[in-house]
């Protein structure tokens, strides 16, 4: 049975009347029109569908819409503020840290979550933090470089 579910999405309140057990990924991509969040595997292996829930990276393919009731959800479309790209977005561009770009939203949001809990990670810590995000094109080296550069430019400030 449909329920009304409220949460914050990209800094704005939303109210949806929806089957509460629907997968968050598909609700974002269809009902809410936010297609930056990608389907890659549907089983939490690849990280393409990563979103921020209360600032932490979560796999939207394995969340239902009721899981985010009253929470704060940010997708890749909500990361830039006032037209200014987030330092991670700038760094991914500057370091060519992408090829086909399909995994990129998930990479950036996972890195956001990583830097939030560890603002100045070592290279090894970045590798551990990103381990469960897949990139088939092989942009890994540049992704690590971009995250390091973003961490440096943020100087520990989110």
């Amino acid at each position: 049975m449909p329920e009304t579910i409220s949460f914050t999405l990209n800094h704005k309140p939303v109210r949806l009347t929806v089957d509460p057990d629907r997968t968050l990924l598909w609700v974002l991509r269809t009902d809410l029109g936010l297609t930056g969040t990608k389907y890659g595997c549907g089983e939490s292996h690849c990280g393409s569908c990563t979103v921020l829930v209360d600032q932490r990276a979560m796999r939207s393919c394995s969340l239902t819409v009721k899981d985010v009731r009253d929470k704060d959800v940010v997708t890749i479309e909500g990361l830039a503020s006032d037209g200014h790209l987030h330092p991670l977005q700038e760094a991914f561009m500057a370091h060519d840290a992408l090829q086909c770009g399909f995994c990129t939203p998930g990479m950036i949001l996972t890195a956001f979550s990583l830097l939030r809990s560890n603002p100045q990670p070592t290279r090894d810590q970045i590798i551990r933090g990103m381990e469960d995000n897949f990139c088939r094109c092989g942009a890994h080296t540049r992704i690590i470089d971009a995250i390091q550069a973003a961490a440096a430019s943020m100087k520990g400030v989110r």
């Binding site: 629907r22 997968t23 598909w26 991509r29 269809t30 029109g33 936010l34 297609t35 930056g36 969040t37 990608k38 389907y39 890659g40 595997c41 549907g42 089983e43 292996h45 690849c46 393409s48 997708t75 890749i76 479309e77 990361l79 830039a80 790209l85 977005q89 991914f92 561009m93 500057a94 060519d96 992408l98 090829q99 086909c100 770009g101 399909f102 995994c103 990129t104 939203p105 950036i108 970045i126 590798i127 551990r128 990103m130 381990e131 469960d132 995000n133 897949f134 990139c135 088939r136 094109c137 092989g138 942009a139 890994h140 080296t141 540049r142 992704i143 690590i144």
Partner: protein, 731 residues
């Protein structure tokens, strides 16, 4: 990338499409508006035809390039330049490198160049995006169109400025009076109000690389901003009013036939439509997750043929069904070579089926209106998709338009377009736009895998450590990269079959996988070479150099050794260093790797990879290096873990829990160098650096442990087995 994509705000585009493709120049001109339009005929270009023939190989029907109406470039009234290409952007970077070429030859700022890619109504016919052919095959046509456009503009400009054409120069989108810099007119002003159609009759001179100001310089990706903000649209991101999402019933195994099906429980779900035509059963709904759930309610029974082969018996099967080989190269006298050898080596090299596994699964969105189909598809082959769709839905080809949004990775796997056919059939059946996006399980099931293959080599060396004979036969990988390039007086290279599917050989579809054939061939050849170097007690770099005469190959081997700071030693030196070299897509590559082997667990950690590549003139050096890094990283997968498990036509891998892609923690320290070769035209860059990855890791494992691996991937079990066979588990 392509302005012709529907979005939430622009549903109508595509509805007003005029006459199709091959139709006429007049229609094309009407569609793109006024301005200077340049057509290029490739007819005179033997070299271009040659690469086109190579490009055609993955297609079922070979075709040559049409000799008219080929490459386009348009200079609009606003001075903006639009180039049109049938190539697509899947991460490999032509969205940046093709405009670089145009800007360079046309003398305009890079920012003023737009590109339309993979639209069969707007773009010149193209064979498909594969074979590392965009830069070397299509690039010359695009550069020539730009050079010709510049010549025409100089003519028009000198007339307008009332100066002799020899006094006019092209600069930053202006024709300028050489003697008075302030006396100038912009390209936009020159084309204003006129439609000027020009045909290329003579091949204009292209710039030398030494003159490059825009091409040949590192440029950041033009699609980066859209890709980091989530704006970039891939096929499954497109929405049309009234569209349905379809999920399709798949058999449990290839070759299985539908025996009985009950779709009533699915039909009972509100909003669900079911379509059935023989074995093709689809469930459609306005929400993709609802369609998927409803598909789960379909009760189906299949008759599967008995499984006669699996991932362990496949190699025996391939040897059993092998037909007579075709000779690809030979010379000297094998019997004589054998008699001269003091040591001979007979080996069989195996490699398993490998998935393409782009992170974006196959997707398509089809709309049919007024007898015309428009299909947006994630494809490497829009023109091929158009043919497949037209045939499936019984439309004339000119009534089908394929548009290619950003593609989320292809690697050869998106050369075939079953998903686009499925979407088109369902759009025709339902009368509504239909989107199909395969699940990861469907992507594994329907993939056209890199084929399992066997390479048999018999070779020998004399007392001085010189190779005396080489007898090489490759089964079912194809002969790309099979011919050796060493000095061996008596030799034969033969191939059975190709990397394409042939009846009775493979239990499912196979096809081109990044540098098709060459990964298998280079693994076998470079392993065998290494084995002989070790037996001759000669350093493996030195052994190769001793048998090389091609200066380009010598150069990359030496460059890799220098960058690595290689010091000669006979293998196994226990250092864990391996070397391998090869050529692909016209480029030369040599790679040296350092590995650490855990002899207890059998795991291999690749610590460092140094790669030297020579690829002729480089258009976007940064893009080329990204391709090399991507090749190295992706190559670790087929070297170490990637292998499709199956039983008969049933594909047992359904997701990434059993099929392991390379991860961040695998990353070696990667160092790449591109050797300058401005006297050689641009060569391929998307594939060469991946071909050596199996061999370089195998050779490094041998150097570390003395154990020789003959099968890809080199899983911990296989490494342990090889160590045991060698009896040399070294700490």
């Amino acid at each position: 990338m392509n302005p012709n994509l529907p979005s939430a705000l622009d549903f109508e585009h595509g509805a007003d499409v005029v006459t199709p493709a091959a139709a006429s120049r007049r229609d094309f001109l009407k569609r793109v508006g006024g301005g200077l339009v340049i057509f290029v005929a490739l007819r005179d270009w033997a070299a271009a035809q040659e690469v086109v023939q190579e490009a055609a190989r993955p297609m079922t029907v070979q075709r040559s390039l049409p000799t008219d109406f080929n490459a386009f470039l348009r200079i609009g009234e606003d001075g903006r330049v639009t180039c049109f290409t049938g190539k697509i952007e899947m991460g490999q970077g032509p969205i940046t490198s093709l405009p670089q070429m145009v800007a360079e030859e046309l003398e305009v700022p890079l920012e003023s160049v737009d590109i339309v890619m993979g639209d069969t109504d707007l773009c010149p016919f193209d064979m498909g995006t594969w074979g590392s052919l965009t830069t070397r095959g299509f690039g010359p046509a695009m550069r020539t169109a730009a050079a010709e456009a510049k010549a025409v503009l100089l003519q028009l400009g000198s007339e307008s400025l009332k100066i002799p054409v020899s006094q006019a120069v092209a600069q930053d989108g202006f024709v300028v009076d050489r003697l008075n810099g302030g006396h100038r007119i912009s390209y936009g002003q020159l084309t204003k109000g006129r439609t000027i159609e020009r045909h290329l009759s003579v091949k204009p001179a292209l710039k030398d690389a030494a003159q490059f100001k825009i091409a040949g310089k590192p440029v950041l990706r033009r699609d980066a901003r859209d890709k980091v903000t989530g704006k970039a649209q891939y096929t499954a991101d497109l929405r049309l009013p009234g569209m349905l999402y379809a999920k399709i019933l798949r058999p449990p195994a290839h070759g299985a036939r539908l025996k009985e099906v009950d779709t009533a429980p699915a039909k009972a779900v509100a909003g669900v439509q079911v379509y059935q035509d023989g074995d093709f059963v689809a469930v459609l709904h306005e929400m993709p997750d609802a369609a998927e759930q409803a598909l789960g309610k379909v009760i189906a029974e299949f008759d599967a043929p008995p499984a006669t082969v699996d991932d362990t018996t496949i190699f025996d099967h391939l040897m059993r069904v092998a037909t007579a080989p075709k000779i690809a190269a030979q010379g000297g006298d094998l019997a004589q070579g054998k008699s001269q050898a003091v040591r001979s080596f007979d080996s069989s090299y195996l490699n398993s089926y490998v998935a393409h596994s782009p992170i974006e699964t196959h997707a398509a969105l089809a709309k049919i209106e007024g007898g015309r189909a428009t299909v947006w598809a994630s494809t490497q082959n829009p023109f091929g998709a158009r043919e497949e769709i037209a045939k499936a839905i019984g439309f004339p080809i000119e009534n089908v338009r394929v548009i290619t949004p950003f593609v989320g990775g292809g690697f050869g796997g998106k050369a075939f377009n079953l998903q686009a056919v499925e979407a088109a059939r369902l759009a025709k059946a339902t009368g509504r736009p239909v989107q199909v996006m395969w699940s990861r399980e469907e992507e594994f099931f329907n993939d056209t895998f890199r084929p399992a293959a066997v390479v048999k080599i018999s070779s020998g060396i004399d007392a001085a450590g010189r190779m005396t004979f080489w007898d090489y036969e490759v089964l079912y990988a194809g002969d790309r990269g099979a011919a050796h390039f060493y000095t061996i007086p008596n030799h034969r290279t033969a191939a059975v079959g190709n990397f394409n599917s042939s009846a009775g050989v493979h239990p499912f579809g196979v096809g081109a996988w990044r540098a098709p054939g060459n990964n298998t061939n280079t693994f076998a050849r470079e392993s065998q070479i290494d084995m002989m170097a070790a037996a001759a007690r000669i350093d493996p770099v030195e052994f190769r150099l001793k048998h090389l005469t091609d200066p380009r190959m010598i150069r990359v081997v030496k460059a890799a050794a220098e960058l690595f700071a290689w010091t000669p030693a006979v293998s196994p030196s226990r250092r864990g260093y391996g070397v391998a070299c090869g050529n692909d897509a016209g480029s030369y590559v040599a790679t040296i790797a350092e590995v650490a082997v855990d002899t207890e667990k059998g795991t291999v950690h690749v610590k460092r990879v140094v790669c030297a590549q020579e690829m002729g003139v480089v258009i976007n050096p940064e893009g080329a290096k990204m391709q090399m890094e991507g090749c190295i990283t992706m190559g670790l997968g087929y070297a170490l873990t990637e292998e499709v498990h199956f039983k008969g036509g049933a594909v047992l891998d359904t997701n990434y829990d059993t099929y392991a892609l390379p991860r961040f923690s695998w990353l070696p320290k990667i160092e790449t160098v591109i050797l300058e070769a401005n006297d050689i035209p641009p060569q391929g860059g998307g594939e060469p650096a991946i071909i050596v990855m199996g061999a370089v890791v195998a050779n490094a494992i041998y150097d570390a442990t003395g154990a020789r691996l003959f099968q890809l991937p080199m899983t911990p079990d296989r490494v342990r087995a090889a160590l045991k066979a060698t009896g040399s588990a070294v700490a």
